[in-house]
Amino acid sequence: MAKQVKKSKQELSKLQNLTKGFLKENPIFVFLLGMCPALAVTSTLETSFGMGVLVIFVLVLSNVVVALIKDFIPKEVKIPSYIVIISTFVTIVGMLTEAYAPLLHESLGIFIPLIVVNCLILGRAESYASKNNVLNSAIDGLGMALGFMFALMAIGFVREFMATGAIAYGVFLPLPFEGSIVNLETYLFNIAVFSGPAGGFIVIGTLLAIYNGFEIRKQKKAELERQKLIEEKKRIALEKKRQRELESAGGKA
């Protein structure tokens, strides 16, 4: 948190760099990157949060390292060397998770090594970190990963709530306390499908449609404003023209 505050005190472009990943350039809702983990690990809020934390760690560190050594990497082996850097961090993260949060490691399973092929991480290394300095790359990585985590948690929240009617914590993460944030105890109305594979697809599709709906409304508003501005300009031009005609007519008389 302190890191974030310190960074936001610097110029605005850095803050924008950090916050662009949330809605404007959200990796999942806008670019559709990293869809596999977004579908697979979001059956509960907690696993989505865990995945998000792992992605933050890997993305920030790989962005920093790529930005540090970008001048030493020959152009021909760019992608393989990025993949090696990323997979090194993924291996470290996997070991740490296995040691400190074994239940999370078990529930994420195969999707921890698969962070390597998450297009989001390779995409940021290729399109941002290989062209910018270390600090900017770190901020970009943090912002994008936070946006990714935000999207995952939104999906996880909807899915867990629809499937169990409650949002539990302390199940997969090694928290000292257990319980649930929301618990409606609606055992009769739970839809178990939502925690399964089919629910993942349907929830992401619906959230995407809602996001698109807002974007389309925003675009329509902007288009309307533009139209109004153009009409206003046309009216002013027409008025000027009329005035000129009137003046010239007056001059003749």
Partner: protein, 200 residues
């Protein structure tokens, strides 16, 4: 051990544990390349080739190199390097072998490196402990599983791209057009595939 185990492996990895719909591997190409049936089929053929070869090589690498040297933890790095170089090799081979195939497959080949289905199947083959059947039968089982998974990927790619071609011309609300409705369609397909659970 009898031959039925291979048949079971193919059916189970193709239909019951379908890579795309039930294990969420390879969703990116599934959404990205399925707009046309032809490109979907081309992608699935390329995936099938790389997936089977990668399963073969990674299995051998794991049990002949990594386990004797006691460096299993390097698995992820080694596998992804194998897959990346393999994709490169396939690309060069196809380029030399046939210009026509290269033209139609060319753009999909680099994409395969970041296709999580390939790495996912390779890692799953190791964690399923096929070695319990013995080294050679285990290898055969790993390759068969990969082949079945690739068949499942192709099946879903084909059926989904035909559905999607029709969806293009459907009269939908503006915000549902494109990917959202495709995802919901995939969800309904996944529901249908859930019904196949337990046939083996």
């Amino acid at each position: 051990m009898s031959w039925t185990i291979f048949f079971t492996a193919i059916i189970s990895s193709m239909l019951i544990n379908n890579v795309v719909l039930l294990r969420f591997l390879g969703v990116c190409p599934f959404l990205g390349v399925s707009k046309k049936t032809e490109s979907g089929l081309a992608m699935s053929i390329a995936v099938m080739f790389v997936m089977v070869m990668a399963a073969l090589v990674t299995y051998l690498l794991y049990y002949l190199v990594l386990v004797p040297l006691n460096i299993e933890y390097i698995q992820t790095i080694a596998f992804i390097l194998i897959i990346a170089s393999f994709v490169q090799l396939v690309e060069m081979f196809i380029k030399r072998f046939s210009k026509k195939i290269y033209k139609s497959l060319g753009i999909y080949l680099p994409l395969i490196t970041t296709n999580c289905a390939i790495l996912g199947v390779a890692v799953a083959n190791i964690s399923e402990n096929f070695i319990d059947y013995g080294t050679l039968p285990g290898l055969a089982l790993a390759v068969t599983t990969a082949f079945g998974a690739a068949l499942g990927f192709g099946l879903i790619m084909f059926s989904f791209s035909t559905i999607r071609e029709r969806l293009e011309s459907a009269n939908l609300p503006e915000s549902w057009k494109g990917v959202p409705v495709a995802l919901v369609t995939a969800g309904i397909m996944a529901l249908a595939f859930l019904g196949l659970a337990g046939i083996v």
